[in-house]
């Protein structure tokens, strides 16, 4: 049998599933190698909030037994993965990286977790994140920052920063994140992995902590396009437990020619030629990728998303308004943190003090902004106006995608920035979402694919598809991956470990 630790650095998720199914490596050995790696590195990266060592090894062992007995195996049989700690997995705590949920054990199973397990995946543990998924750098977790495995003095992006860092560091072969305004795509870009935000309604949100219900989607992060597509094919599709989940067929996500011949690919000028604050190194990587798409037979089309400069303002009003409503459930009554009351204090003190003690600064800021935008006298000028502008943004995307199969541009305006660089300026942090919030507001699918580096830091290209047409978007991404022929780029963790030695 092959050395499991070496396989962890060479296999993709698709390869790993095939190797386990063929008996080339045991699920127990590969799971053991993942656990060893977490023991060795996660003190430095902080990408996990919970590790289910016994549960993971037991699942892996039973997968190996089932294989030996000749039982039919699921498409992810024995493959170690992690999930963002916003997703309910039975037997594991759920914190949403918030003090207000410390010690909470969810009584239900998220549909996405059930589907992962039904497909045979070994869920290793829960990824760190920005508290309640509110952040772009993973510096808003109540349980510590996450470091970028490519450069530990830099952020991994957020809010699914723990998921992206875990995939980059080889803590298993994939992760599930959530994306409300860019929270899968941005960290995928900064950590050099693939991340997909599916169409709104594509993936069930049952058992997933709600942030902004007209925007939230669960999606995969993985090392390659095929890996992420396989994960999406497992978790996607209608779920009777989520009334907002759609019935449109998923299409064939797992295999496609990756042919770019005849594809029409739009480049929004607001994302490149007219983009403000775009790092020249990032711009150069994106232009190089567009040239590669063209050389491989695609037709590049100049398009416009004219309301792009309004996307962040629209997003931060809509998302915070919805969050202020969704987060009203954390009141210290049924679950979560409850403040200790003084003599004579009543129910309103219980609510106000439990919430004041339990939520972190960014969550409070967003609840305050959202409550303000919905409050009497301001509703029309802020929340409702944002919903009207959202219609314009939605129509921009639908219109541009009428003449193109997909749109492409940068995922993030800059590569990974230094820890602490933006933490004193919430607005500067919000501006990192300039290219990702539009697709969220429009509800269309979007993904980030690694396309190179600048200053030794990964750069991601964003692809944006038509509603419920992940199949075309993923196939263009597959074609881009082939055209660039970069192979899977992994950070050199051993060098980092040597550097950090005294």
């Amino acid at each position: 049998m092959a050395n499991a630790a070496e396989l962890l650095d060479t296999l993709s998720l698709v390869d790993c599933a095939a190797a386990i199914a063929a008996g080339d490596v045991s699920a127990e050995a590969i799971t053991g190698a993942v656990l060893d790696r977490i023991d060795r590195f996660d003190g430095q990266f902080g990408a996990l909030l919970h590790v289910d060592r016994e549960g993971a090894l037991a699942t892996a062992a039973s997968t190996d037994q089932a294989r030996k007995a000749g039982a039919a195996l699921g498409p992810l049989a024995g493959v170690p993965v992690t999930v963002k700690d916003l997703i309910s997995v039975p037997g594991m705590p759920l914190t949403a990286a918030s003090k207000i949920l410390r010690g909470y054990e969810p009584p239900f199973t998220a549909t996405v977790a059930r589907r992962l397990r039904d497909a045979g995946a070994v869920i290793i543990g829960k990824n760190n994140l920005d508290e309640f998924a509110m952040g772009s750098s993973n510096e808003n977790s109540a349980f510590g920052n996450v470091a970028n495995p490519w450069a530990p003095d830099r952020v991994p992006g957020g809010s699914s920063g723990g998921s992206a860092a875990a995939v980059a560091a080889g803590y298993g072969f994939g992760s599930l994140g959530t994306d409300t305004g860019g929270s899968i795509r941005l960290p995928a870009s900064l950590c050099g992995v693939v991340g997909i935000k599916p169409t709104y309604g594509r993936v069930s949100r049952y058992g997933v902590v709600a942030f902004a219900s007209s925007l939230d989607q669960v999606g995969p992060l993985a090392l390659t396009v095929d890996d992420a597509a396989l994960l999406l094919s497992v978790i996607g599709g209608h779920d009777a437990l989520d009334s907002t989940s759609a019935t449109e067929p998923l299409g064939d996500l797992r295999s496609g020619p990756g042919s770019l011949e005849g594809r029409r690919i739009g480049v929004p000028r607001e994302f490149l030629d007219d983009a403000e604050g775009l790092d020249p190194g990032v711009a150069s990587c994106i232009r190089g990728s567009i040239d590669a798409l063209k050389s491989a037979g695609a037709t590049i089309v100049d398009v416009s998303l004219p309301h792009t400069p309004l996307a962040i303002a629209t997003y931060y009003l809509v998302a915070t308004a919805e969050a202020s409503s969704n987060l009203s459930r954390y009141d210290g009554v049924r679950f979560g943190h409850r403040a200790t009351l003084a003599q004579g204090e009543g129910i309103t003190d219980l609510y106000e003090r439990s919430r004041g003690e339990g939520f972190g600064p960014e969550v409070k800021r967003r609840i305050m902004l959202g409550t303000f935008a919905l409050s009497s006298g301001y509703y029309d000028a802020y929340y409702e106006r944002a919903c009207r502008v959202r219609r314009l943004i939605h129509d921009d995307y639908v219109s541009a995608l009428k003449s193109c199969d997909v749109l492409v541009g940068p995922t993030s305006p800059v590569p990974a920035w230094r820890l602490g660089e933006c933490t004193d300026d919430p607005l500067a942090m919000y501006l990192m979402d300039i290219f990702t919030t539009g697709a969220s507001l429009a509800g269309v699918p979007a993904m980030s694919v690694p396309v190179g580096t600048t200053q030794n830091l990964p750069v991601g290209l964003q692809l944006i598809g038509r509603h419920f047409d992940e199949e075309t978007m993923i196939d263009v991404a597959r074609g881009l991956e082939k055209a660039l022929n970069l192979g899977v780029q992994r950070p050199n963790l051993d060098a980092l470990a040597d550097e950090s030695k005294p």
Partner: protein, 98 residues
């Protein structure tokens, strides 16, 4: 800067949001919200009078499930995470006549 937000606004909104904030938190929220609200004022530049708000994203009618009773969570599980419970119920401070 937006003059829409002052300390009284922050205190009023905090009451609406049921958030107990320290003086220092109130100070920094006045600053942060002034800057953020000034930024989102850019939406006022668009004429939106003829545009329907986009509030719900679900494109088609939500599919209905069969009207069959499922398994409820059960009292024990529902109360398992309660900060305080007694007699199959959540316990809260006195609400009436306090």
């Amino acid at each position: 800067m937006s003059d829409t937000i002052d300390r009284a606004t922050v205190q009023r909104v905090a009451r609406l949001a049921r958030l107990r904030l320290s003086d220092a938190e109130q100070d920094s929220l006045v600053d942060d919200l002034q800057r953020i609200v000034a930024y989102v004022e850019k939406l006022q530049s668009v004429d939106t009078s003829a545009i329907q708000p986009l509030v719900h994203m679900t494109i088609d009618a939500m599919p209905a499930r069969k009207d069959v009773a499922g398994q409820p969570l059960g009292t024990d599980k529902a109360l398992a995470n309660a900060p305080e419970a007694a007699d199959d119920a959540f316990v809260v401070p006195r609400v009436v006549g306090s």
